[in-house]
């Protein structure tokens, strides 16, 4: 932190999968580059006291190979497992995926849906913030120059709770999400939804939570999508109301609104099925 405070041109990195291409593309070399991987807290995975603590500088390949984490948060692991190629996953991290502040970051919607907190250290000491509060716009975060994320604190899933993430890309691999959607669902002993969170990527300047989703889904037994149940239309409308997409080479705004509805339904169905399987 002292190094970062004293060097206004300093940068922190973990996987450097964004920093190095930025330097290659002409960004001035930082006056100092601090490798966060050498700080022990950033490399730990622990489950205790009702929370999982997941280091911010752990490569995606380590997360996807972690059996306990994959069982607890299949959706988060799905998101991390979609970031780039195997080569990129050998380097890319949750902390970097969040702080690069792309609206299309694949691991961020699951973190938000899970209610994860980022543990942030800096000149002022340690603080925590909801992951949803870290990114304030494309390439912009609420962290100050001296701050970085050491780890994420994720509430351990209760019985009957699970998550899912899906993205749409026109290829089969190695692409950036046109739309991404994460869902976390908790069901009771009868398979009835007690709690729901739906979060979208690449449809607005930051990832967005569909706050109306819980009101629409709670109390229902979530079936496969059939088109017959009116609440799917309600969910679709709530999704569209949260979207503020742009037209770009990956897709038009109208297309993104449609795909967001489809992915939201699919991840809700998948998360609900996984949640029932934990009972």
């Amino acid at each position: 932190m002292e190094l970062l405070s004293a060097n206004p041109g300093a940068a922190v990195f973990a996987g450097a999968t964004d920093l190095i291409p930025q330097i290659q593309a002409g960004r001035p070399e930082p006056t100092l580059a601090v490798d966060l991987k050498r700080i022990p807290e950033t490399g730990r995975i622990e489950n205790s006291g009702g929370f999982w603590r997941v280091g911010a500088a752990i490569p995606a390949a380590v997360l996807t190979a972690h059996a306990g984490l994959s069982a607890a948060f299949p959706g988060l692991v799905e998101g991390a497992g979609l970031i780039g190629s195997d080569q990129i996953q050998g380097r890319a991290t949750l902390g970097g995926n969040l702080c690069n502040a792309s609206p299309a970051a694949d691991s961020v919607p699951p973190l938000v849906a899970l209610g994860a907190e980022a543990i942030i250290v800096g000149r002022g000491g340690e603080r925590s913030a909801q992951v949803s509060e870290v990114v304030i716009g494309p390439s912009a975060t609420s962290l100050d120059q001296s701050e970085f994320i050491t780890e994420f604190r994720i509430p351990a899933p209760s019985r009957g709770s699970s998550d899912a993430y899906e993205r749409f890309i026109p290829r089969t691999e190695m692409d950036i999400a046109v739309v991404g959607a994460a869902a976390r669902i908790r069901v009771d002993g009868d398979g009835r939804c007690e709690e729901a969170a739906v979060v979208l990527a690449a449809v607005a300047p930051t990832v967005v939570e569909v706050s109306a989703a819980s009101g629409i889904l709670e109390g229902r037994v979530i079936p496969h999508y059939s088109g017959r149940d009116a609440f799917w239309d309600e969910l679709g409308e709530a999704v569209v109301a949260c979207c503020n997409p742009i037209d770009d080479k990956r897709g038009t705004a109208e297309y993104r609104r449609k795909v967001a509805q489809v992915l939201a339904r699919r991840t809700v169905v998948t998360a609900a099925r996984r949640a029932r399987e934990t009972l």
């Binding site: 450097a16 490569p59 990129i88 380097r91 691999e173």
Partner: protein, 165 residues
Amino acid sequence: MSRTHVTCVLNGDEIDFLCNDYQTLLSALRDELGMIGTKEGCGTGDCGACSVILDGQLVCSCLVFAPEVEGRRVETIEGLAEVDHLHPLQDSFLEGAAFQCGVCTPGFLMAAKALLDRNPSPTETEVRYGVAGNLCRCTGYDKIVRSILDAAARMSDPERQKEAT
């Protein structure tokens, strides 16, 4: 400009080299150590030509700062073959004509090695995902995928292993 002294284990041997702070591992391998088997394609992590294995993890060496490998293990294409015989992947690539111009080949071989290290008998789909981070402009990929599957079969069959040595 003062240079950074880095010590690491490269293909099993402890070595050291001097590099600049923002030099990539790729550049250090090629320009400081003369290990030119690792190729530069895009330089931005998209093509996989510079793939190496760092502490067991497949990475693009163009996306690693050279000073980061202090104290770590690096495996490159130069370490793939044994002294007197090729790695089964190399045999399969040769026999299956899995390369034409050859620039992508070291990266494909390292990605394939990383894949077979963690999954000795992959399906064709798993192979295609395993090398999805590697681009080839010559072969159309099919011969590469077949050669990796052939190498996996070769490595799990003791009879064929004997034959190769």
